[in-house]
């Protein structure tokens, strides 16, 4: 019976979890108190074929994605994440720039989660360290937070974490998506001691 409950819990995350930070398609969609966060997540090496197994009726897309768990207050990433912890998460397609709407105020990346095995008898996840501040400010419209790059081994042990400035490339993508004349402020993620 417990095995079945494990499988159901995996599905429930996708079906019942609070909403993630929504992707943004036009700056005009932003509310007056909102900002678009521009950034990227990378695994080095990237996920190889067969390293991730998503099976069955899983609602949502977890393939090659890292869920960045966010909060307005800095706290440790819980060992056993509750559904509420996923509120306001960023579902980042790894290796691709994301554009998500967020409150125009400081926030924190508590950590990252990659679902490695879903839909079978057990759910397997890999956790990635956080503790980064997103320095968004009231009144601004677009903030570039950098590339969060996790170096890992084949056992998903994290060996190094860096925040890489790829502003030029991100700015070009930002301009292509939202048009010229928009300001994308560079405010790379900073590690909070």
């Amino acid at each position: 019976m417990t095995g079945r409950l494990v499988a159901i819990a995996a599905l429930a995350l996708a079906a019942c979890a609070p909403a993630p930070r929504a992707p943004l398609n036009a700056l005009s969609e932003l509310g007056s108190d909102e900002v678009v966060l521009v950034g990227k997540v990378e695994l080095v090496p990237a996920l190889a074929k067969h390293e991730q197994k998503i099976r069955g009726n899983v609602v949502g897309n977890f393939e090659n994605r890292m869920v960045l768990v966010m909060d307005e207050k800095l706290r440790p990433l819980p060992e056993d994440l509750r559904l509420a912890d996923y509120a306001g998460r960023i579902e980042a397609l790894m290796g691709s720039t994301f554009f998500v709407r967020s409150k125009a105020q400081p926030a924190y990346v508590l950590g990252g989660v990659v679902f490695l095995d879903m839909g079978g008898n057990s759910q397997q996840k890999a956790y990635f360290p956080g503790g980064f501040q997103v320095a968004a400010k009231p009144g601004e419209r677009a903030v570039y937070i950098g590339t969060l790059r996790y170096h890992r081994d084949e056992f998903f042990e994290v060996q190094r974490v860096t925040v890489v400035d790829e502003y030029k490339q991100a700015s070009a993508e930002f301009e292509a998506k939202f048009g010229k004349g928009q300001t994308l402020r560079r405010a790379l993620l900073t590690r909070v001691k």
Binding site: T2, H50, L116, A126, F155
Partner: protein, 178 residues
């Protein structure tokens, strides 16, 4: 070090647990084989261990699980080609409690992992089962020793005794006893 607390699941479906030594069609005397073994004392667990699976994590493969033979907590396989492996699951059943699967986290693993660069004998360690709320953990124990486990393997598995592994195991035991 990643926490090794695993997930305990009572299996509904039988058959998931069934796993003797699975060689993926390899010959026991294949010179590229490695012997990988370990031991878990399940005295405090809901069941004894009747099966164990080792997962090949590198190179990644569509069928990553290798079954093992199990004898009184000793689990082993002598078919593994070069690659990286981790102890993935233990299985067991009892008449009153049913079928159990003990799953270890995919991430990390420390001593219960092996990077096999060249063929040889790899010891994943000896452990004792420990209940942790609805999960479980395993703690390293000093007994039985690697040499004692190898001797047991040699004494109880006629297939090993009649293979190229017999001499390799004896040599390893001799080195360990120096």
């Amino acid at each position: 070090m990643i926490n090794r607390a695993g997930i305990l699941a009572l299996l509904v479906a039988l058959g998931v647990a069934g796993c003797g030594g699975g060689g993926h069609g390899r010959d026991i005397n294949d010179p590229s084989n490695s012997l990988v073994f370990g031991y878990v004392d399940m005295a405090d667990a809901p069941t004894k261990v009747s099966g164990a699976q080792i997962m090949q994590v590198a190179p990644p493969t569509e069928k990553p699980y290798w079954g093992t033979d199990v004898k009184d907590g000793l689990f082993y396989t002598y078919y593994l080609p070069p690659g990286s492996y981790r102890l993935a699951t233990l299985h067991g059943s009892s008449f009153l409690r049913g079928e159990y699967q003990y799953s270890f986290p995919r991430q990390g693993g420390g001593a219960t992992t092996a990077r096999i660069d060249k063929p040889g004998i790899y010891f994943l360690g000896a452990y004792k089962y420990k209940a942790v709320k609805s999960k479980f953990d395993i703690e390293p124990v000093s007994k039985p020793s690697e040499a004692e486990l190898l001797q047991k393997l040699l004494d109880t598995d006629p297939e090993v005794k009649n293979s190229v592994w017999a001499d390799k195991i004896r040599q390893r035991i001799a080195r360990l006893k120096k």
